[in-house]
């Protein structure tokens, strides 16, 4: 296989993801409405709540909107990754994933490319969200928008791999509701997305430790620190390590023959 063929395949998968995305423009809107509601409505009530302590990477007191913006960037990626996982189940049931996997290129390459394609779409949405967040005075330094890119891509890869792993377990399309309740919500709420960890620790130490062990916390912190031009090796390191592990597990575990179409008996 030549690099050109790899590239051709890469571009093909990327294009397909964007095409799918373009055909589901309402999905784009809804993916933005959710974090924007959190930012504008939920955060408004807590405006001055965090004005009692300065935590890195911030140099001064911040509004609650400013605090949750990085968490909401993570939320966009989280929902997209899980919806991506759903789409892979859907693809599998309609057989288009099988078509993709019939490609002579190595399966891990195909799957990682698929994850990256999903990630790029998510990152695009995150940037639209960040621009809209300027309207409520969430104003990170200009270079922060560039510095946050690696953290966003890494987060998309990590959550994409997690989605893929879940997709290999899901047998039926309806189980996505379960994914919402058992993956998305716990990951989002039990993280540093909504409250700083010192506050969680004050509320309950065990909740604090759950947050510490939640990979989403570290992804959000990597986004938060890079957005404000600070380097957080721990958050980056943990997110990268978990991304590698999840990708290995997901690519090794993805077996199209395990799947079946609803209502048919397994072969």
């Amino acid at each position: 296989m030549s690099p050109a063929q790899y590239w051709h395949c890469f571009v093909g998968i990327q294009t397909r993801e964007w095409l799918r995305f373009w055909q589901q423009r309402t999905r784009f809107a809804s993916a933005l409405v959710r974090p924007l509601l959190w930012l504008v409505v939920f955060a408004a009530g807590f405006r001055a709540v965090l004005g009692i302590s300065i935590i890195p990477p911030y140099d001064t007191y911040i509004t609650y909107e400013t605090y949750i913006a990085p968490g909401l960037c993570g939320m966009i990626i989280l929902f997209n990754s899980m919806q991506g996982a759903l789409s892979m189940v859907y693809d599998r049931e309609l057989g288009s994933m099988r078509v993709l996997l019939m490609s002579p290129l190595p399966r891990p390459f195909l799957l990682v490319t698929k994850l990256l394609a999903m990630g790029v779409v998510s990152v695009g949405q995150v940037y639209v969200f960040l621009v809209l967040a300027l309207l409520v005075d969430v104003e990170p330094p200009l270079w922060g928008y560039l510095a946050v890119l690696p953290a966003l891509v890494l987060t998309s890869l990590m959550l994409g791999a997690l989605g893929l792993l879940i997709a290999t377990w899901i047998k039926q399309l309806e189980n996505f509701a379960g994914v919402m309740n058992f993956v998305i919500f716990p990951m989002f709420f039990m993280s540093s997305a909504l409250y700083p960890l010192w506050r969680m620790n004050e509320a309950s130490p065990w909740l604090y430790w759950i947050c510490q062990f939640n990979p989403f916390t570290h992804a959000v912190e990597a986004i938060r620190f890079s957005l404000y031009l600070e380097w957080n090796p721990m958050a980056y390191g943990i997110t990268a390590a978990i991304t590698v592990v999840l990708t290995l597990l997901a690519t090794a575990g993805f077996r199209p023959q395990r799947t079946r179409i609803l209502g048919t008996k397994p072969a």
Binding site: G51, I54, T60, Y61, E139
Partner: protein
Amino acid sequence: MKALLKHTALAALIGLSAPSLASLAYVSNEKDDTISIIDTETREVVETIDVGARPRGILLSKDHTRLYICASDDDTVQVLDLATRTIIDTLPSGEDPEQFALHPNNKHLYISNEDDAIVTVVDVSSKEVLAQIDVGIEPEGMAVSPDGRWAVNTSETTSMLHWINTETFRIEKNIVVGQRPRHVEFSKDSKIAWASAEIGGTVHIIDVDKLEQIHEMTFKVPGVNQDRVQPVGIELTSDGKYAFVALGPSNHVAVVDAKTYEVLDYLLVGARVWQLDLDKDEKHLYTTNGVSGDVSIIDVDDLKVIKSIKVGRYPWGVVIDPTT
């Protein structure tokens, strides 16, 4: 890291000049009985000096060699020599001095004595008490107009501004303002005076020639209960563009258009923001945040809070030495 790089680059630019050239900000810490000294380049506390009990109002002598400190619980005004950073003298102040103001002649210090309902005028060189002027109950804020003509005292309980003629030491006019007036600030041309009323939640703008109120301002900080909006410190830019008003427990500083008296923005700083001072080129405004024990720095061009620095407990006053 960024600040460090910037500082290093700056140091390289000016040929690694001595750090003593950096401009210094002095902050009185009411509960710690100390003065924190902040280097305005590195934005770090470089030294903390022990002073008398409960330091509140602080001001610089006109030649910027001394810092006068109201040591409220010691019932005295201390004189800190800035070169040696030691207390070299004390002045008679009357009981419980809280705020004071120095006449442009660099000699007459006007001190409000909260418990005695008087204003004491002290000659700082002879240490003589020149006058004790009866004012309203609980005198608090003190200001002298830049042209030296007026000394204004605010009395908290009487809710009045007392206009004292600095030649006769007599009150010539009383102006009723909002409840508990705290602070008075003159425009550089001495034509306009701004007075804050803490409980009234208002700022009163006074025409100094006519000694009449020409405008009354109120504030509404989004998301903050109205009873927490308590104006205290006021600072004006010398170009007449902005007035900054510290809004106490609302934890915000109001940015006011000094010509139209419109509030342009509310900036989030630390808890119970109290007094304000501009640095020498008026690029940065420093605020003392009493309850959170820190000083916030506002970029005046961008109107953004850029940093908050931990100081002692209950920082009260801040002055920046413009010569260093």
